[in-house]
Symmetry: C2
Subunit: 564 residues, 2 copies
Amino acid sequence: MMRFFPMIEWLKSYRKADFNGDIFAGIITAILLVPQGIAYAMLAGLPPQLGLYASIIPPIVYALLGTSRTMSVGPVSIAAIMIASVLNSAEVSTLGNSVESAIILAAESGFILLGMAALRMGGLVNFISHPVLTGFTSGASILIIFSQLPQLLGIPKPHCGIDIACYQESLQFFNSTAASLGLLSLIILILFNKPLVALLKKTRLSQAIIIGISKTAPLLTVVVTTLLVSYYNFANTENVAIVGAIKGGLPTLSLDFISSNKWSLLLPYAGFIALIAYVESVAIAKITANLRHQRIDPNQELIALGFSNLATAVSGGMSVAGGFSRTMVNFTAGARTQMAMLIAVVILSFAIVFASDGFEFIPKATLAAIILMAIFPLIKLRDIIKTWHYDRGDGIAEAVTLLGVLIFGIEEGLVLGIILTIASYLRQTSHPHIAEVGRVAGSEHYRNIHRHKTETWANLILLRVDENITFTNADYVGNFILGRLKNCQVKHVVLIFTSVSYIDSTALEALEVIAHSLQQQGVNLHLSEVKGPVMDKLKRTNFLEKLESGQVFFQTADAVKALT
Amino acid sequence: MMRFFPMIEWLKSYRKADFNGDIFAGIITAILLVPQGIAYAMLAGLPPQLGLYASIIPPIVYALLGTSRTMSVGPVSIAAIMIASVLNSAEVSTLGNSVESAIILAAESGFILLGMAALRMGGLVNFISHPVLTGFTSGASILIIFSQLPQLLGIPKPHCGIDIACYQESLQFFNSTAASLGLLSLIILILFNKPLVALLKKTRLSQAIIIGISKTAPLLTVVVTTLLVSYYNFANTENVAIVGAIKGGLPTLSLDFISSNKWSLLLPYAGFIALIAYVESVAIAKITANLRHQRIDPNQELIALGFSNLATAVSGGMSVAGGFSRTMVNFTAGARTQMAMLIAVVILSFAIVFASDGFEFIPKATLAAIILMAIFPLIKLRDIIKTWHYDRGDGIAEAVTLLGVLIFGIEEGLVLGIILTIASYLRQTSHPHIAEVGRVAGSEHYRNIHRHKTETWANLILLRVDENITFTNADYVGNFILGRLKNCQVKHVVLIFTSVSYIDSTALEALEVIAHSLQQQGVNLHLSEVKGPVMDKLKRTNFLEKLESGQVFFQTADAVKALT
């Protein structure tokens, strides 16, 4: 039971101290949920209620099934821009009914995540390297900023991408009132961030209260600008874009979307959304879990996020994942368990039922400002330089993924980055490090003859292969060995297998060919320090017989003793 | 000069003994060229002259540029069935003019191979593992057999694939005369193979003469059955399918195909053909070169095969590669250099100019028999069992590739096999072997505590990571280390890096997180036996400072001395 419902574990030992932390964090997170829910729905090009609905049932499902105690599951910006990219694509937009498309995307993501869980493919997350993930997040965040700038300035043309000319054309529609509201929002958000916290720290207020005050900024921004819009009737007099009428009340469950004919068309896109939702969620969950010495179970997360996405689909919401900014707010506000999110959901539900009329006049410029502030920390351009400095290949992968997202599109950039990392990884493993070693004088240690002062022998070459030998590098290893023989009076070559844990069948064949070639030149091929699992496997073949007068030595020292 | 024209190297030291070998091998290979050229063109669904033209200029170009002394470049069966699969696909066949399509495929393959040479991508061949290549070749060969069976039986329906029902329907068109000619051809070919050789070995004839007699079988088959067809007028009286009128004379050069609008449509298919042509050719070249201690330069082979394919396109031929059976015949007949192929080309040219009228009455059943005999040795079903026995993953890859080719198609099967190998390789590297080691009593050797009797310490864990640490396995390594700490009074963890030659940026970040997590639990993370290149890279970061009280030891023994 506890394995399938990790909630039971923390519920069993739940104390009053936990509740004190959770209730405060829950209130703070609830304040974020309303503007983020509406904003991310609009970012995806969807009616606001899809974001709000996604913030109600899914967090409850995650609380029950997820292994992170503090992650806030709901609509997130990266998934939102991915949904927008799907809905705007020619083949999907011509089919109309974008709400249905978004719900199917969420349902399919859910099924894909559950399928991955069934196949125990949680490890798939490992094949997206940090550089690719960072490059992808930075690129998608830049796209989000470009999509929100027109909203912030009151320009009614949200889909210019990174086409500068398009923005210049749209500038004629610049709306100074909307832009002023947007700037006002930005100023409130910026001031309430570091400056206010720094100021409040000089008072006697507790850390929790300071965080509480600081995190009310989005709500305050929404309330102030919405009151201005509604008092002065800016929507009609100044043509300021507002959220508009919202379907009030709690979400109703429906399975109508199942009969749609869009399932197969949307499936590949849902795959990308599921992959990114999962990878980002696990990354966020791990960051917070590590800080409190808690553990995240990647496979259970697949199950939890899978059911959360099915829940959002059934309740008419958009795709969900763990949100970075919301989770960090929840965590720093003192959340101990998922109880905080349950409290936030209750508050949000009351707001939707009793205050949804007030949402109508929220200016879009304010929502754009809130998105911008949430998204800025995700752009890590300086990270590319740092990565490049440590590892050229990783730096290139990060830059290419970022540029790929900007130039070719979200999914394309991601695929490009993944292919590039895997290709460069394969290329790297296809040139393994092979060290010619000698005996460190007066010891039984064998080290690289180019890095240490060592003793060597005329008739004997010791080669340490520093990688598993597989189809990617078997050829290179063979050429390296044969290349070392030129101009030498060598009678024995010893391959030291300290680093070799695996030899695949391509490599085995290649080693047989090498041994045969060497024999024809009167040279014996020997092995030393062969690990147990490798030896077990070699014994299953006739390779050791094919070595003929070549031997297998337990230690390199034994080989040197026998052959010199 | 010698680098770009490897021909110069052997021409400089060319002797009479070489010529004696080459002229005999040239004659034998020429005998094979006529039936194979016509047969492979028909296998591809093309007029016979495309196969003959492909056997003239391309071998000359390869002789000039190639590094293999004995490989016979020309039309080959696997490329032929790939061309057939492209030409029969709906999108290509509707455009008509299959000759133009085939020529464009050859030209594009040539450009792709030259592009790969320019990017020095000869190493790409390493990413097709032996199991995938064997599975692919076996699968394609089975497809070829199924495509030739109707021809052999005189059934005019060559494209049933592996659909048994389709063959049953076609059986009503069974032509007993054609089938008899086919069986007669098969019998001649089989008898001339091992039985005749065994018989002749009992005489005093030299090995070369025996091979010569044995290898005339295809020509003899063609001559006998063609004479029968033409004498009895089987083509008209018994409706036996024959090759039909052949455009006589030598190929004329033409660049007409350049203005075609099919280039972009055919490009991906040309990529597959180029890849397989290259991989198969290099494999064949290496087999023969190894037997004589000669070297193959993979990148020069890209250039040679690239220009050979451009040459075939310009002279109106089909795609070319190194042919397995023809090369082995050339080699065993005593060819020393590419002079043998030049001689074969001269003989073939005379045949085309003066005897092409005779080609008209060659029965297709005879050509089918010749193809079948050439293709049978390429089917290696037993190899799958051998591979499976040594390595489960490789065995599965081989079987899946073979079945993929049969069920989904040639290109699809190949892609499936490549993806499967790379995915399973990544999966395998994502679970690296990590050994907990202890000191072998009374020595300074450190070995796996589960495989050897070793001394261990309560406050110290020694872990030897037997693989490079990268994005594919960083997570696993971290979890492994943290997992070892449970229920332990451990104060120090030493990671032994004897097998670690590379740490990418994802792994570096993961190690920092692990070190931080351990520190918070009062455990220090140390490193030992760090290789030079790894150390150089770590020093470029602040990782060593982040280890805080963790140290880097030169040898594991130093770590044990310092920490216990």
